[in-house]
Subunit: 401 residues, 2 copies
């Protein structure tokens, strides 16, 4: 008999969409296309040899442990290293408040799962990280977007919205921010705004989800403290990952949360996949305990800074005067704004014809806005590709503006 | 200000419970305790040296790929090997119908997510795999349990229940079975019942979730065909894992589903964690492509058969006559039934005092039954421990019966 699968799916499944980015990436597989679309790190930065040596050493000395099931919370040697790693960034985190996740994406899924009931308000940046929107969407929140400027989410607008939502009797659960070199905009939330964000969260009794995968990749300027370290109330969950700084192929992320929230996070993780792979956790812990992470980070910062500089230089040289862009102090992305009448989705096909790719900005807007914006990545392409790719983009924009 | 975290959690989070098994396992960490409680494979079976060699080779030859993000569906070399692996078990599966998961547990979570709306009926075995119950519970189904006998789920009772549930206007979504050497009972669903299960599923328009992590570990007798291979309608999802046959420390599982369901599974995976680690996927694929899996499986089968035999022998020798147990033809577990008036949870403390551990049977009953039952594992303990541990258990039972 014929099965009508659509009758079988849950409401959650029927609401799912394929990732715009993942689908666009398929169009960019032609090797002639210079792709600024993905968010991939430069594979030349992967410490292949060290990982190979450490893999052998771990298997020689702790094979039975490395290949067995591990604790739901993650392997202790790794969590201990994470305590130290975050201490180096001004964060005092007890090991018990850390759980290892499959990338920070899994942390976002779990946060959504344990916090969002359908209709709850989740406050996000405009634009916001697409993977965060996707993870939370599964739990059917009402997204409320707060525009950013060059200092990140605008606190006056946030306050207005909080007043308005509270008056309307909405149940607001948390504020989701990517405060450092945001994906997609490249913008960093200023120190003052971090303080104000915490004040407003306290006033309205909200949690904060601080998702910071790029924080260690600062090229210049002084890092504002993490929201987590500024928070004295225990209302901040902090998510990070080594996908951009060590290697994505381990899918090594972590989440930090106050004990009562961590308790639920661990229960969710048990039901979701029991635990992360021990093998890659122990390799990562050993890499850190051998003191290799600082040099690794410094090398990546140097490389990406050169790439960002090349991109900024080319943009300044070739872009039409009505096109503007952000100047990120770190991270992987910058953000381009076209004149209002240009829709980056409509001209995407022409970009592919010109053999250059980006991600359309509207993908990052929970309210469907941002049609005249786009995200470009500077970590993956070579310097030659950056030079040539920006020229192609400028050609395109010149032809449509 | 003080945060009332409990006001923040979703309905899903408030319904979560810590895994009974994981919590009991904490009591069994005392090295003097002989634990039959966990479901761990014997670490002596892990192919440590081969994994070490292959890790080095993969990093030498494909380091940039192995450490980069991979496809949501999983690495093609692994999916191709899985096509061959399942073909060797009589299953014809196109690669496109396979997605790699973090253990089969993640497959169960995704199945629950894409199929279950609150109140939907999910039919399970009595007893059933605890991890399956936990994964599905997150989506608030109504569980209906069907008792097993020595040939697995009883089809007459299933039919009665289907009539009854349909009359009551319930929306039944799927039947969840662990048909081979079931966890926890050790029982295998007979060939005839597999056919009947598919007939009933067709009649009532239901999907089937076939979760078979132990299937390759058959000590004796002939394997009935998988439900998946018998199904001509495309109503069966098949889940498996290498956690019991290769190593759990890679968390290497997979799910097979018809294209329309796989489409939703892939979308869910994107939102959940983007993709599984490439590194461990490529190592596993290479291990398979070098033709090592058959010898690995044969070695494990030989070892676990000896352990099962030892356990059966000791049980026959020491157990009081009112205690009965299953005789699994493979897998990792067997199932003990005590006289009705004995509650395995109440006597668990005494077991720990006698320095032996098991899992209480009621943990596996969605209806809270099975109080006089318990699960014991024979894969992890040594032969000496099996001999001594069964004596201790028999002592305990003799003292309370």
């Amino acid at each position: 008999m014929t099965i009508k699968y659509d009758d079988m799916f849950s409401v959650c499944a029927m609401g799912m969409k394929r990732s715009v980015i993942r689908e666009l990436l398929k169009l960019t597989r032609n090797p002639e296309i210079i792709s600024f679309a993905g968010g991939l790190p430069d594979p030349h930065t992967f410490p292949v040899k060290e990982i190979s040596d450490i893999s052998r050493d771990i298997l020689d000395s702790r094979g039975a442990l490395a290949l067995q099931y591990g604790p739901t919370e993650g392997e202790e040697p790794l969590r201990q290293q994470l305590v130290r790693f975050m201490a180096g960034d001004g964060m005092t985190v007890p090991m018990e408040d850390i759980m290892v996740t499959t990338g920070s994406q899994q942390g976002l899924d779990i946060v959504g799962k344990i916090l969002i009931d359908p209709g709850d308000v989740v406050i996000v940046e405009l634009p916001s990280y697409l993977g965060g929107l996707q993870a939370f969407s599964q739990y059917h929140p009402e997204f409320v977007g707060i525009p950013q400027d060059d200092d990140g989410m605008q606190m006056e607008i946030l306050e207005e919205k909080l007043v308005e939502l509270t008056k309307a009797g909405k149940r607001i659960k948390f504020i989701y921010v990517v405060p450092d070199f945001q994906n997609p905009s490249g913008v960093t939330l200023s120190k003052d705004r971090r303080v104000r964000l915490l004040e407003l969260a306290a006033q309205y009794n909200l949690l904060i989800v601080e998702d910071s995968p790029y924080r260690a990749l600062r090229f210049e300027g002084e890092a504002p403290p993490t929201i987590y370290s500024t928070d004295k109330d225990g209302r901040t969950m902090y998510l990070s990952t080594f996908s951009k700084t060590f290697c994505p192929g381990f899918r090594m992320g972590w989440i930090v949360a106050p004990p009562k929230i961590m308790n639920r996070i661990v229960m969710a993780k048990q039901a979701i996949d029991l635990c992360c792979p021990s093998f890659t956790q122990l390799i990562t812990a050993e890499y850190m305990s051998r003191g290799r992470m600082p040099a690794q980070l410094a090398m990546i910062v140097d490389l990406y800074k050169v790439k960002r500089n090349a991109m900024l230089e080319q943009l300044a040289k070739y872009m039409p005067p009505t096109v503007t862009w952000t100047r990120p102090e770190g991270g992987l992305f910058l953000w381009i704004r076209l004149p209002e009448h240009i829709d980056s989705e409509i001209i995407f096909k022409q970009a592919i014809e010109k053999k250059v790719a980006y991600v359309i900005g509207s993908a990052f807007y929970c309210d469907g806005g941002g049609k005249n914006t786009l995200r470009i990545n500077f970590s993956f392409a070579s310097l030659d590709q950056i030079t040539e790719g920006v020229k192609r983009l400028a050609d395109l924009f010149n032809s449509v503006i």
